[in-house]
């Protein structure tokens, strides 16, 4: 069995991209103190909207724009419920996932068996979305750690009462973050339908959104960690597919568990490090998942 390392790395980058987009978006949302478990729902919405737009316009680029808009649009349902109606974030995120899966199953029927336009290759034979995903890592790191709006976003995530007392618009910051997360999740989902699978099938994100959520924990809320996590996940996926293609004597169904098992393993390793480690670094944002409302 020959595995050419370079071609594997290129495949790895492609497999990592949907997770990279979705996890970077969720990272910003969680740094603002909001836990949105609806990543899977936003990704599948983006996967369908992006595919439909790319098919109708014959332009993959327009597809990704449409996916970002669709992801953002459904994330606003979550924003309205959690920020204005103060609903439980865990339950609302779950609802978003169930709703997204249902909605796309309903409206996706006409797109089954339809082809998408081919995505344009960029420099080094990698498409532009792969480049964009990798470029977002330093950009988001720079935004969060080196700019004033980034500082405000982190303040809102660490202690929303203090941020509110200082006069920062907690709710607005969180709504913007949720929208950004929705847009990136939508684009990540569209990458699966437009660039990886090249068609639309019901429930095609197959847990990618949940893996992205785990990668954010693995990354300890740091964009560079997200990149590492996404590559690790991409590597496991590619390796698993290679082993399948090479006809290893392990049933296909068991090999395809690898990404999910790998996610559990890294989640356990990183949680154990946080639990037994001495430093407080890499902890979750202090206000994560807590609802905020101002008495005045």
């Amino acid at each position: 069995m020959m595995i050419d390392p370079l071609s594997v790395f290129i495949l790895l980058l492609g497999a990592a991209t949907p997770i990279l987009f979705a996890a970077l978006g969720e990272l910003v949302v969680e740094r603002a103190g909001v836990l949105n478990l609806g990543v899977e729902g936003m990704m599948i919405t983006g996967a369908l909207a992006g595919f439909a737009a790319a098919h109708a316009s014959d332009s993959p680029a327009l597809g990704f724009v449409a996916a970002a808009i669709a992801g953002m649009a459904v994330s606003m349902t979550f924003a309205a419920l959690t920020q204005f109606l103060l609903s439980n974030q865990v339950a609302t995120g779950l609802a978003l996932t169930l709703f997204g899966l249902g909605l796309t199953a309903l409206f996706g029927k006409p797109y089954e068996g339809v082809k998408a336009p081919a995505i344009m290759p960029g420099p080094l034979g990698l498409n532009w979305m792969i480049w964009l995903g990798m470029a977002l890592v330093p950009l988001i790191w720079w935004f969060l750690t080196r700019t004033r709006p980034g500082l405000i976003l982190r303040a809102v995530g660490e202690n929303h009462d203090a941020a509110h007392a200082l006069g920062y618009p907690v709710r607005l910051v969180r709504i913007l973050a949720i929208g950004f997360g929705g847009a990136l999740a939508g684009m990540g989902g569209a990458y699966i339908s437009i660039a990886t699978v090249l068609q639309w099938t019901e429930g095609m994100t197959a847990g990618a959104g949940w893996i992205a959520l785990a990668i954010v924990v693995f990354a300890q809320w740091n964009p560079w960690g997200v990149l590492a996590g996404a590559w690790l996940f991409g590597g496991v996926t590619v390796l698993q597919l290679r082993l399948q293609a090479a006809g290893v004597a392990v049933p296909v169904q068991l090999l395809s568990m690898a990404p999910y098992l790998a996610t559990i393993i890294v989640l356990v390793l990183i949680s154990a490090r946080q639990k037994f480690g001495r430093s407080g670094a890499g902890a979750a944002p202090a206000s994560l998942g807590r609802p905020f409302y101002a008495l005045k």
Binding site: L94, L98, V217, K275, K296
Partner: protein, 356 residues
């Protein structure tokens, strides 16, 4: 403008009214959706919510109500325990699948022997399988602090692949003309879970669901454990001072809800489902989350919510047959219902006051 004032306790009236409001809103918005899709909204809603019970074909569809409600209620009653304590088992779907596989394994190992011990042994195996699958996220949370939400969910995908592997590999019916899928347990008398009363739709799963509701009602409102669960959910720090050990609650809630989900899977595979197939998991584990919330995590509420969501399944199938409505409509309905429920819930937790 308005402002929100937190309530000290949730009034019973609003606790009862908000789920009803959510159902009403879902019907109205769902009707609008049907109209936008070019279907007659009134006929569609009637087909989903009225015809399965009182329509011309009700004789066929009414027993289906208990067939679908049984697993939903069984799973939801377990989930409600954990949700009360802030322990989020969202992988019931996986525990349901593993329970079914474990139970079916006992039957397939015993085949073709006919004996009275087989069905009880399957029940034990099903519960044990679901329990074990639920204990994985529990132990990983207790030992390493890993999120039970993400681990339990990842295990759903793993369980689905195990089911596929079983259907194509170890459990494939040797007399099945090489089609994937196990032997059909409905045709194996000692292992089958038949209808107990003809045309009622009631099988042992329904009986277990009622028992589970009674047991969880007792635990939640009459036993110290229920007090611990409620305290841990409402005020985790205070609960520690009151002597609650969070690790034990995590193991208990995930274990019990896993065992109940496993039982639901076992009763399904031995009854209406009949065999382990690649697509054995049909979403009951996720819909049960909605049932638990819609029922306000209360046994009586869960009973009613389970029946209502069972109705949407049957109504959805009927609407698919009669009106050509897409099958996914039910999923959209269920998702919308949960959204509305969470939205209206603000009325139970806050008082809305005019700003002075």
């Amino acid at each position: 403008m308005f402002r929100l004032e937190p309530r000290a306790s949730a009034p019973l009236l609003w606790q009862v009214v908000t789920p009803l409001l959510a159902v009403l809103a879902t019907i109205i918005v769902g009707g609008a959706l049907f109209a936008a899709m070019g279907f007659d909204p009134v006929a569609s809603i009637r087909t989903i919510f009225w015809d399965p019970l009182f329509g011309p074909a009700a004789g066929y569809s009414r027993p289906q109500l208990l067939v679908k409600a049984g697993p939903l209620i069984l799973i939801a009653s377990g989930l409600a325990l954990g949700f009360r304590a802030g322990i989020w088992n969202i992988g019931a779907e996986g525990q349901y699948i593993i329970g079914a596989i474990s139970g079916a394994a006992v039957a397939l190992a015993a085949y073709p022997l006919e004996a009275h011990w087989i069905f009880p042994a399957m029940i034990l195996a099903g519960a044990a399988g679901g329990w074990a699958w639920g204990m994985i996220p529990a132990m990983l949370r207790n030992w390493f602090g890993a999120s039970e939400i993400l681990v339990s969910l990842m295990l759903v995908y793993v369980a689905q692949r195990i089911a596929a592997w079983m259907a194509f590999g170890p459990m494939k019916n040797p007399e099945g003309f090489n089609f994937p899928g196990s032997r059909n347990l409905q045709q194996y008398e000692s292992a089958s879970n038949p209808e107990l009363i003809a045309n009622s739709g009631l099988h042992w799963g329904g009986v277990a669901a009622v028992l589970a509701l009674a047991a969880t009602w007792f635990i939640m409102s009459r036993h110290i454990l229920g007090f611990h669960i409620r305290t841990a959910g409402a005020a985790p720090r205070a609960a520690r001072f009151a002597g609650v050990r969070p690790e034990r609650l995590v193991a208990l809630c995930l274990g019990v809800s896993g065992a109940l989900a496993g039982l639901a899977g076992l009763f399904e595979v031995a009854g209406p489902g009949g065999q382990i197939t690649e697509s054995f998991g049909s979403g009951y584990g996720f819909t049960a989350i909605i049932v638990a919330f819609l029922g306000r995590l209360h046994p009586l509420g869960i009973l009613l919510a389970g029946l209502l969501l069972a109705l949407t399944y049957i109504g959805g199938e009927l609407a698919q047959m009669m009106l050509n409505l897409p099958a996914a409509t039910v999923q959209v309905f269920q998702g919308m219902l949960l959204f509305f429920l969470l939205g209206f819930d603000i009325l139970t937790r806050y008082r809305i006051r005019r700003r002075a």
